[in-house]
């Protein structure tokens, strides 16, 4: 795709004030049709654990903490409410980056030329107030048809696609054809690169490079009117970045087209079952003003 076309956006398509982007494609009719993709009733939670060790974490995001808020040492505090001896409740407090392990990017996550999707300025994100536009709470939650493209199976040369490989539109199309699935408007496209398998196999010693889609595939996905793209790597996109342009694919999908990105999802089980389509539900926490949320999408095959 030529340089000039790359910069094309769909801003204004759903109104100049729209904050939901491609989620507008999910009409009840589209969701009904998506539900028809359910065949086996098998349920695949796609999130990986949130914990301080043995999962991919980035240093600058800190380490997730789960801290006990209330435990059996608090016995007695509910006596006034008729609490019987030996009865009690355990609770915790959690601390983590909104982009920890399996997560979803809000449209406020990335900006280009100081603008987010639909021309929202980067200054719509405030340190104290958070996102006044395009925050994760605008997503609310959604259901859609999901198509899983298993690039590991497609390339067929190992347990994962080699780090740094730029997956093209033609690659995605060939994988879809090989699996006998087609991508439709309103779909969530899940792309398995095997990166997570590699990370676990190498005990976290994986380097910075990762396989992922490049600009060509991003443009093609945008042209297919997909709602979201999910991947089992850190950023959906290939690293080193395509054209050495930081967050190049995020800019095409998130910024220019309002298409959501889901990262660090675990597709190993549906892939083992050759479950290539189904209904997916994605329900980020509605943290007001946040730039993303950990997620644990449910894929029903």
């Amino acid at each position: 795709m030529a340089q000039t076309e790359v910069a094309t956006t769909n801003w204004g398509r759903w109104g100049s004030d729209d904050e939901r982007g491609a989620l507008n494609l999910l009409t009840p009719e589209v969701v009904q049709a998506a539900a028809a993709s359910i065949r086996t009733g098998r349920v695949y939670p796609l999130g990986i654990p949130i914990q301080a060790q043995d999962v991919p974490l980035m240093d600058y995001r800190g380490k997730p903490m789960r801290l006990t808020l209330q435990d059996s040492t608090d016995e007695g505090i509910y006596d006034v409410y008729g609490c019987k001896p030996g009865t009690g409740a355990h609770e915790d407090v959690v601390i983590f980056a909104s982009h920890t392990t399996s997560h979803m990017d809000a449209l406020i996550h990335v900006y280009e030329d100081h603008q987010h999707y639909n021309g929202v300025p980067d200054r719509a994100m405030h340190a104290l107030a958070g996102a006044t536009k395009l925050g994760i709470e605008k997503v609310a939650g959604f259901a859609a048809r999901a198509v899983l493209l298993d690039m590991v199976r497609h390339f067929g040369d190992g347990s994962w696609v080699e780090p740094g490989r730029n997956i093209s539109a033609a690659d995605l199309q060939a994988a879809a054809a090989g699996q006998g699935v087609e991508i439709r408007a309103g779909d969530v496209v899940l792309i398995r690169t095997g990166y997570l398998d590699m990370w676990f196999a190498q005990n976290g010693e994986a380097g910075f490079a990762q396989p992922g889609i490049g600009l060509d595939a991003a443009d093609w996905l945008a042209s297919k009117d997909v709602v979201a793209v999910g991947c089992d790597n850190a950023a959906v996109e290939v690293i080193p970045f395509d054209e050495n342009d930081f967050l190049a694919v995020h800019k095409v999908l998130l910024v220019r087209h309002g298409i959501y990105m889901l990262e660090f999802l675990d597709f190993s089980k549906p892939a083992a079952d050759e479950c290539w389509e189904g209904l997916i539900t994605v329900s980020p926490l509605k943290v007001t003003g946040a730039t993303g949320s950990p997620i644990n999408p449910i894929l029903i095959g």
Copy 2:
């Protein structure tokens, strides 16, 4: 149900090591049948926002915080990765109780006679290590048929059920009959009391008392083999507690039967649409060792 029967448990039903309780009822066949409940394709995210104000919070759980991790003041740090001027990413860190606003209780949440579901001792919860058994990560995520019982509509005497009203099994059955729905094994039963509507209408001035189910309804729901019970109040159960027994209903459902509890869900939209059944997906964050998780369940009508 007689007093002696109340203490009956189903421990061992799915094996002495089982940590998933009623989720064992959700076979692929049950999920397939649940998917058949989808009629309109309308999607209802049931979670309310996570924020420090204007939502029901309990003092002892602290106030949720969203803190900016990275914003436009960090421009320049990604130059080494080919970051173009004007391109950047916003991220945050969040801090909140695992039982904040809309949330799900793990089976490690409540104990009775120092025991959780399936006889797991209260000391399976450690301050440092967290839950070594029955933690929220064991839930993983699930899909089921949902039935919404609108008790506000059923009682018909205002915008919410009066605080302190003990909703009985007969009440639930009558509401189901009036709505023309039946409860089946493997269902998630959603009970609308209007408590959240009251809370918002009164700007958070609602007192401690809340309408909810009592022991009679809890026993009946357990006898119906439901998977989870969701409510729009703080604790599913009536407060003051039935028989003045602290967490009486939690003990019946969570402890004795491994039936999950979902709290502070917002049913106002599906109730307005008279959407009484559908497919629900519930995907807690897999925080290893945690006692619960905020959730934002997706109900598809």
Copy 3:
């Protein structure tokens, strides 16, 4: 003081790269002299508690949390290190704003015309990296002579100075004269307004207004070459702000002269003892890149 003089700064006085401001005045000789102020050996810790209730907190800073990290439910985890039964350790994690209750402002705290002390640009503060200049860790910790001016005693019309009263240079000078103390270069001047006493007496119902110093007093203190100004209110300065200029006094002291500000200190005990001078030590936590720190200064009378 005329408008043009107000804008005068001392930038460059200790070099163009200086990041410590007035702390440069504290030579060993000055500290030796300060130690000579010790008369009784009475020790006054000036910090108030850090807790979620019953202390003045500002909503936007969130509520302090102390969460248990390790307690007696963790028994057994140290057996491998020879831990005897019944032996164990309690630990916690704390979360709070760096400007919580009794605290010290770093020179990176406030900026004017986009500049901090010594011309450091506001962009030296990054969301992710924190302060690359003038952070609290540059303070390290210090000892100085302290002079306590009791304005409640001076005005003599109640238990606290009325909210909104602008304390002038003449007021400070008269109070010093009345107490028989003089202010010297290198001093920490502590100003008691009674605001904390009022806050506690009114159970936190105190409004936004507070007594404090205005521009006139700030200029005079700067002219006396003091190192820091401490107060028992939220901001040292009078609120509503002098000349209705937000943070007017912070701009004079912190930005233009590199003079530190210590807030929410409790002077009730030394004031009751009529301890008007002594040695003070101030030791902020060296949180790298932070804009301030809670403190608990030690005054030795």
Copy 4:
């Protein structure tokens, strides 16, 4: 010292309800005498930075976080208070273990036979409520005479004492004699092992073993009526623990005698200056119910 004597405690010495332990030794007279130790007026802040990297941290305590609460992206929010363009304030929120880097143990930190100092039961520490007795807020803050014993200089065989070396009472006495200082009742004894120097020299690759005092030295220090013992290592005491008894020295000092322990202090500068005595102030944050606090003690030589 014989085994039976080791178990001797001083419980009750300052009353059966005492919660301050050896701090009771610090009368105004003792503090006055301590102030007389000031010779040069040189000030040494003894705390090391609190940051996520390049300082000794223990995995189970998590990583300290400094998160920006408010920065220049928030411009405009104070316009209502008369904020001029270009004026603003930077603030942060911090999260860290109370025992992070340089810190002080509260008397509630360690227990033996389920008891803390003065017979307080381990259950005085609650997950939710924190320490109801012996919390760090009971310390408040103190000033005392400090004696620095440089064991690196004393042993004279390198830049640090070898890891695992058990420093005895005779070693401490010999070092004191060599330096020409004596230990008095009410002193804070600072023991330099060089461990921090080793840690920094080895870029954090230091193992678990560390030089420190053993039971013999702990008993001797208790017999000398010291108020606190500070060290440049993780636990004051030798690791592997003396007699392979987990926290053996903590039990003697903290539990049996109410003597405080200060860890990870940096003595490199006073040692380089051969500053062997002075006045020290220690001011933990008064976090209500906490088991300890980061500290940054001020030593004035």
